[in-house]
């Protein structure tokens, strides 16, 4: 698997930054994410979650912190950014 391949947000390890490549799921769900600022092209950083973790995934989207249930995190496809940005 190369670095640009899409994977569900729920599988992204903690600390990793990734770009949203697709939103799956119903119309209401998509519209909700979009209104909260999560669209295709958004860059997110996983704060809590990752494969094997329990509970919702917590991501940083800009300055906001969004908690996303596991079922939903499966429907957000992201592509991990090649290297973590250094401060």
């Amino acid at each position: 698997m190369n670095e640009s391949s899409a994977q569900p947000l729920s599988r992204v390890p903690i600390g990793q930054t990734a770009t949203v490549v697709a939103l799956e799921g119903g119309q209401g769900f998509q519209s909700r994410l979009i209104s909260m600022g999560l669209t295709v092209g958004s860059e997110v950083r996983v704060i809590r979650g990752g494969a094997g973790a329990w509970g919702p995934t917590l991501i940083a989207l800009g300055q906001a912190r969004l908690a996303i249930g596991r079922g939903m995190a499966d429907k957000i496809l992201v592509s991990p950014c090649p290297a973590p940005r250094s401060p």
């Binding site: 939103l23 799921g25 119309q27 209401g28 769900f29 998509q30 519209s31 909700r32 994410l33 979009i34 209104s35 909260m36 600022g37 669209t39 295709v40 092209g41 704060i47 809590r48 973790a53 329990w54 509970g55 919702p56 917590l58 940083a60 989207l61 800009g62 300055q63 906001a64 912190r65 969004l66 908690a67 996303i68 249930g69 596991r70 079922g71 939903m72 401060p87």
Partner: protein
């Protein structure tokens, strides 16, 4: 001439909208409902620059789609009521997302003022704005504010007045959606304008965009078959071009417009990656210790409620006791005037008993307001999501449940933030199991009477935990039976932690406590009087025993000379004590006989066969009937049943009587039954209103009562065997 302007406050959840609203209106606010729907409508007044302002706090939303009631309500208010000025409260540290809503307001053609709130936080994070330029790009004035400190609210109102005074039509900045979409918008816009009707009442371009977004409600407004067919065609056409629904593409273009505007005007001078909030979160929502911390916090809340509340409660009890005594002295001693009995035993005994628990209620509401305003409540939803998910509920359902610890009514209203109907109904139905503040009065009466000091807090905690566990079990049961369906998606913003303002806390606390006080002044007053009447009439005149005669006999026996060996070792003191004990026993027996004769006594006696297996006697049965009206009436009623004829309103006297009459097991069963059984009538009415059908209220009422009966029966019978 005095002018009156209506301004509406809108904005994202967590943008500090409520803080600004409180700043502007102070305590001059009232809460109502939007007509036809069950969304709370907060309104308030203020005066600025000689102009009266009516301020409407619209529900917090991220968008203006037709997917949630809140968004629809906000949209309808702006479109139909046409407020003079719309103030969009924007979290300046979360600019792009917050502007998404602002852009939709722009498209609606509202007279807009943007408040860049929490501008201090944004500044601390190294975000710099070129406000004049951004204001030009967005076509709306921008005022920086810090709601928590009250900064900028004066300037905000100045700007509101300036915008309201403008006579020329709003000069609108438009998002350009690209040639393909613009072409379809123009086509629909022409049709709408030609057709008249809705096209004239609303902005045609806005309607056209909404049609392309496939907005269910706008489709209904238009209703014209031809236009709807044309819109469906446009959607298909655009979907074929973009490979995605136009709705998504349109949203993307809006964000494009926003980021274009921000690129020129917003600068990030420092890259902050790890904020203080994140550091706190690393601990508070930690995988391992997050949940234990939450449980400990809840325990502390209850512990404080009890220990701190005890002192003012004592003062209030003293006050009511004194008041009762003072009023009783207006009559000659020993008088059995009905008016005196009504005032002292009925009104002061009943309402006073309930009001003396106000300190506990205030403290609990204060603690909940603190958790809410600090941002921790959202974390608790995060922590609970996995567990809630397991019982088929949304993590967010947990917030109404927490509010349910205060009062079921605001909690049921809070379920409005839940999106799925099944989710909402399930939450609503099990909510009464979250032990409310009114029931706290019952525990506050019973626990100190029957349990040693060190067991009191754990006992209270246990009762609350039982409620939670049962709520979980019932929710699960509902989700696999009558309310079967997939668990709804969970997505929620965790706001920044912030130190709540005292003002905000007080307003919050007051809002809820007022509801409680109002209940004490109206429903409970009425019920106290009714119950007093039920426990006083018919009055018994002919008694089974000759109490006066027996008392006289006992007195004679005490005063008679005792000098034989018949009564060995009886000192004068012991004899006097024996006499007094005998008198008291007689008074008790007389009171019991009087009560048994009254209407309440008869009902209680009628219920006794059914209640006896639970360890309850007719007095508890009578009080439970009162508790149907409002849970705290149970305490008032026990006060009347036990103190009838005496002038003591304090609960210490009642506790002594209870101790003499019941075992700790019975006391526990009473608490258990009160916890689980039918919610108060007010809750049932709100459930009916919010669910839209009596059947849900009936299911809640009947189901919980049956459950209470079954569980209490089990506990009492097993407990009796064990002890």
């Amino acid at each position: 001439m005095t002018r009156k302007l209506t301004i509406a406050l809108a904005g994202n959840p967590n943008s500090g909208k409520t803080t600004i609203f409180n700043r502007l209106t102070g305590t001059r606010q009232h809460v109502g409902n939007y007509p036809g729907v069950t969304v709370e409508k907060k309104q308030g007044r203020c005066r600025h620059g000689g102009v009266d302002l009516e301020v409407v706090d619209l529900p917090g939303t991220y968008s203006l789609t037709a997917y949630s009631v809140e968004e629809l309500v906000a949209r309808e208010f702006i479109v139909d009521q046409k407020p003079d000025v719309l103030v969009d409260i924007i979290d300046a540290a979360n600019l792009e997302r917050n502007l998404y809503l602002a852009v939709q307001f722009m498209e609606l053609g509202a007279r807009l003022v943007l408040a860049f709130n929490m501008s201090d936080v944004a500044k601390a994070r190294g975000i710099e704005f070129d406000l004049p330029q951004l204001s030009r790009l967005l076509g709306a004035p921008i005022v920086p504010t810090v709601g928590s400190k009250g900064q900028g609210t004066g300037e905000l109102l100045d700007e509101v007045l300036r915008v309201a005074a403008r006579t020329e039509p709003v000069e609108r900045r438009q998002v350009h959606y690209g040639p393909e979409i613009e072409e379809e918008i123009a086509r629909l816009q022409d049709l709408l304008e030609a057709e008249g009707g809705a096209g004239h009442k609303f902005d045609a371009r806005w309607l056209a965009i909404k049609l392309l977004e496939d907005d269910r409600q706008v489709r209904e407004i238009i209703g014209d078959e031809g236009i709807l067919r044309r819109a469906a065609e446009s959607i298909r056409h655009l979907a074929a071009i973009f490979g995605d629904r136009p709705e998504i593409v349109i949203a993307g273009r809006r964000y494009g417009f926003i980021s274009g505007a921000c690129q020129e005007t917003v600068r990030l001078t420092v890259e902050t990656r790890h904020t203080l909030s994140d550091k706190i979160d690393a601990v508070l929502i930690n995988q391992v210790i997050g949940l234990p911390i939450f449980l400990v916090l809840m325990y502390l809340v209850f512990h404080l409620t009890f220990t701190l509340g005890e002192y003012p409660m004592g003062w209030l009890e003293g006050l009511f006791g004194w008041l009762g005594g003072a009023i009783a002295r207006l009559w000659p001693p020993g008088s059995d005037s009905i008016v005196k009995s009504l005032l002292v035993d009925g009104i002061i005994g009943g309402v006073g008993g309930v009001i003396s628990f106000l300190p506990n209620i205030l403290l609990l509401f204060m603690a909940i307001a603190f958790l809410e305003d600090s941002g921790y409540m959202a974390r608790s939803a995060f922590l609970m999501d996995r567990l809630m998910h397991r019982i088929g509920l949304h993590g967010r359902s947990f917030i109404p449940m927490l509010i349910g610890f205060g009062c079921s009514i605001p909690a049921i209203l809070a379920t409005r933030t839940l999106e799925g109907r099944r989710d909402r109904l399930t939450t609503m139905l099990v909510l009464p199991l979250m032990s409310c503040g009114a029931r706290l009065t019952i525990y506050a009466l019973i626990i100190p009477a029957f349990f040693a000091e060190r067991w009191r807090a754990p006992m209270l905690w246990l009762i609350y935990l039982i409620g939670i566990a049962l709520a979980v079990a019932c929710a699960k049961l509902l989700r696999i039976t009558v309310l079967r369906g997939e668990a709804p998606p969970f997505v929620m913003e965790l706001p920044l932690y912030r130190l709540p303002t005292l003002r905000g806390l007080l307003i919050h606390m007051w809002d809820r406590s007022w509801m409680y006080l109002r209940k004490a002044g109206t429903v409970i007053l009425l019920i106290s009087v009714v119950l007093w009447a039920l426990t006083s009439f018919p009055r018994k005149t002919a008694f089974d025993r000759d109490y006066d005669g027996e008392a006289a006999g006992a007195r004679a026996a005490w005063l008679a000379p005792h000098d034989g060996p018949a009564d060995p070792g009886a000192s004068p003191d012991a004899r006097k004590a024996r006499y007094e004990k005998r008198l008291e026993a007689l008074a008790h027996a007389r009171r019991a006989e009087e009560l048994a004769y009254t209407v309440a006594g008869r009902i209680g006696h009628g219920l006794e066969p059914a209640l006896r297996p639970l360890g309850f006697d007719w007095r508890i049965g009578t009080a439970l009937i009162g508790a149907l009206a409002a849970k705290e009436v149970f305490v008032a009623q026990m006060g009347i049943v036990f103190a009838a004829g005496s002038h003591q309103a304090g609960s210490e006297a009642l506790r002594t009587r209870l101790q003499a009459s019941y075992t700790p097991l019975q006391a526990f069963c009473v608490m258990l039954f009160c916890l689980i059984s039918a919610p108060c009538v007010a809750t049932a009415v709100v459930t009916r209103k919010e669910s839209g059908a009596w059947k849900w209220a009936a299911l809640q009422f009947g189901g919980l009562t049956a459950l209470a009966y079954a569980i209490t029966l089990g506990v009492y019978q097993v407990g009796r065997l064990v002890s």
